[in-house]
């Protein structure tokens, strides 16, 4: 549990650094993806359970399933959130393609408003 949280802190810092400091549009999108992955990690770690099993009922564990399984609700939420993240990334990358067509570069230093 603790190592998950430390990894999460590391991921969030890398993500924010990527978004703020990198000058390349695609790298900014990658940073955004890393940051979102940190949040997915946090969300799924709220369902953590010591020695838990996957939330799938099979014939062998019908009766005592709920006593051992991990929390299924955060997994469902993460599933939804991943699709949303995919949509945002797809739209962002297509905007980056259009920006490349206008400016012939992906460098924010050579654009007007995206500086800094």
């Amino acid at each position: 549990m603790l190592e998950t949280l430390v990894t999460g802190a590391l991921l969030s810092v890398i993500g924010i650094y990527c978004v703020i400091a990198k000058k390349n549009l695609v790298k900014k999108m990658i940073g955004l993806g890393i940051f979102t992955n940190f949040i997915h990690l946090m969300l799924i770690s709220t369902g953590f359970r010591e020695g838990g099993i996957a939330p799938i009922i099979i014939r062998e564990n019908v009766g005592f399933f709920a006593a051992y399984s991990v929390d299924p609700l955060p997994q469902a939420l993460v599933l939804t959130s991943i699709v949303i993240q995919l949509s945002v990334t797809a739209l962002g990358l297509s905007i980056a393609i259009l920006a490349f067509r206008h400016f012939n570069t992906l460098d924010t230093e050579k654009m007007n408003k995206l500086k800094g």
Partner: protein, 131 residues
């Protein structure tokens, strides 16, 4: 692309589709479901688009077909989800647990969602490859 990739694609494409639809249809029994399965199917079409170019991929599934699938599936999803899960009401639970027909609601919604994800991703891949 060169001949090796084309040949491998021809051989492997049906199996990718099979795997994807198997994941979709077993969504209520095993891990996975609509989104992973739909993504696998779409990746099969993306592979064809890479190997044979956009022309080859559009022979398999044209953009109009994708639009049509998306619209129909959307109507189906809206109907299924919004109106008090009528499958559960009128079909009920079909037979014993742990079987293919144990959960008609989740099965039908999984298929609809999988087709939706597939069509959306195929459309995105087509549009970006066309650039």
């Amino acid at each position: 692309m060169d001949v090796i990739i084309r040949t491998v694609t021809k051989g492997i494409f049906p199996f990718i589709l099979l795997l994807g639809f198997s994941i979709i249809f077993h969504g209520h029994l095993t891990p996975g479901g609509s989104f992973p399965g739909g993504a696998v199917v779409a990746s099969g079409f993306a592979l064809v688009a890479v190997a044979f170019g956009l022309k080859g991929a559009e022979k398999l599934i044209s953009e109009e077909t994708v639009h049509l699938v998306e619209g129909l599936v959307a109507l189906m999803l809206a109907g299924l989800i919004l109106y008090e899960s009528f499958v559960r009401k009128y079909v009920g639970l079909g037979g014993g647990f742990f079987g293919m027909w144990s959960s008609p609601t989740v099965l039908s919604l999984n298929v609809a969602g999988g087709l939706m994800v597939m069509s959306a991703l195929v459309l995105i891949v087509f549009l970006v490859v066309r650039e």
